[in-house]
Symmetry: C2
Subunit: 399 residues, 2 copies
Amino acid sequence: MKKSYLIAQSGGPTTAINASLIGVVNALLNLTDTDKIYGSQHGIQGVLKENFITLSTYSPEELDRIKFSPAMYLGSCRYRLNEDNADEYTKIFDIFKRYNIDTFFYIGGNDSMDTVMKLNRYAANNNIDIRIIGIPKTIDNDLLVTDHTPGFGSAVKYVASTIREIAYDTHIYDLQNVLIVEIMGRDSGWLTAATALARNEYITAPDLIYLPEIPFSITDFLEDIKSKLLQQKQVVVAVSEGIKDNHGHYIAAGVSDSDQFGHSQLSGAGKVLEYVVKEHLHVKVRSVELNVLQRCSSHMSSLADLTEAHDLGAYAVKLARENQSGKMPILVRESDGSFSISATDVENVANKAKYVPLSWINDMGNNITNEMIEYLKPLPCGEIPLHYNNGILEYVPFV
Amino acid sequence: MKKSYLIAQSGGPTTAINASLIGVVNALLNLTDTDKIYGSQHGIQGVLKENFITLSTYSPEELDRIKFSPAMYLGSCRYRLNEDNADEYTKIFDIFKRYNIDTFFYIGGNDSMDTVMKLNRYAANNNIDIRIIGIPKTIDNDLLVTDHTPGFGSAVKYVASTIREIAYDTHIYDLQNVLIVEIMGRDSGWLTAATALARNEYITAPDLIYLPEIPFSITDFLEDIKSKLLQQKQVVVAVSEGIKDNHGHYIAAGVSDSDQFGHSQLSGAGKVLEYVVKEHLHVKVRSVELNVLQRCSSHMSSLADLTEAHDLGAYAVKLARENQSGKMPILVRESDGSFSISATDVENVANKAKYVPLSWINDMGNNITNEMIEYLKPLPCGEIPLHYNNGILEYVPFV
């Protein structure tokens, strides 16, 4: 009997999440007993609304365009299943049954893996013959077990390359100046740390790196800047949006009262530190918030990242064919530096977070170690084909 | 007798200003009587300090790498010559004489053309046998006489392509949301207007465009957003950093008192409008400031732009060989849509600004006309070769 499948995407965008989607679709299309491949629009909410499109009718060319396009082709949601709401589960599994769904694939981060875990438990408890498979993605790289997450390598490529370009911009004036770049990652500093890959023989930027794993001190920060300005004219700082003081308060919410540092809703960490530098050091200072560009700049995707994302999607299909459920494919770093794919129970990943090891942060708390750089190096490698139309980037049309 | 030349760059960076530099150098290297080609580091200030490098010894490969690199290879300054300071002029022309400078080429915007104008006047008044030639650049496109400025086309490519990527990011959630993108251009709205090139058959972003040429009304802005939200879930707004209310006050400095809208130093126009939308419309809203990325993202340079910038540099050499001085090469749009190069007196350009014609802005003051789109279309076309090393963009080493 032919089998049908359902795929959905959830959480925040990465430039690799569509590659995982296409990895699943391509692997399913290679099977002889695949009937329909459905995509749910807007994640598990789309399942509840039966908001489905049929991906099995797409041409290889269309699938390839989706693979290299930004954000999430199927749309997203931020919706947590409530374990007390049995009706919701009944409804979802009724819909799965009606569409003859053999496996439900959910691509997302640790919140989305919570959905995978709950659906899997419900299916097991109720002896429902279905497989629920999670596929990881997040630019934050904060999932446990997997060596790194799809989406992270592309974000690394973007932030490091962008800081190189910013270093040229900062270099032009023959005067002291400080440039602060604010990077995404509210609780974990992986992406901020990865800005270190911008450095080469002549670029020292970022000269200072601050991660949320280490309590942030304004006093130490100013001393760090002053010390750098004794050695060089331009100082580039990479700072995580999520840095907190030693009481656990976000710097972004204002380091002091709001009268002095502006309304908290108006100030990210970078902007607050810009103001602090201006007030205390009286040098030219600017802050740049890379914002959503870190997660949607598909034109700077890492080929290594998109290839892995695609392969993890294919591996998820393999798991389903082995009748496994409640699993998530992971990347394993081998001793020779290559990567292989394996799987873990989604229970090991859901609702948990992986932080930058403190041993990979220097003693001053303002830089990362070479060990961390070695970890990061392979992730941004390789470039993808780009399509420009009349000089403007072009991707796949919206659904 | 062999002739030597001096080139300098000034003002803010563009990704095309190095192409003009190399256009000058290549044209000079093609002449049989060229002796030394000097580059002054940090503009006219570098001249005063005799802070010179010798570009005539560079290999064609090195020159080609400089052509495609961000910011200003020679560094910049923001320095206005003071006409009352005769000593400064004497010093500059003494240095020109000592280095046997036949022509001084100054690449910059309308402020830099002021320097060209003053040096040319001084040379004429004192019968000094030297040519002073300006070469235009600015991402702001606000120079008079020339159809458009080198650097603008690349910035157009960057902002329009980036807004397309942001449109995908904004599209993923099935809920109302507003995204505001703040674009550079304090007095003229050319670059903000150019975000319209992001639109295609399925992307409506930017749905609203606000330029500094039209007084900005918060009330009208909120009505515009509300009206769009009746038709569509996602609204993307492009707004110039320089929008002002009908009293001429910058929106960026706070639309009301600083207690309500945050310290003015902490809020760009986009951030202020984000807060206004949040307070009045209670929908999800985010602002993105493209910041220096608009002027330093060489990886998204327009080949048309860099080619023109290079050709204008070469044309500047032609002007010098014709013994012309106080001139600036310009781009002329022909009736068939192609561009030719001509020249104008720098007096027509220095200290003046070109604004978006009001006839190219719609009656509502929240969009641009098709005539403007036709004007913009050719400018971002074509892509340049990129060089990645271990997955990170790489450019020419600093001097």
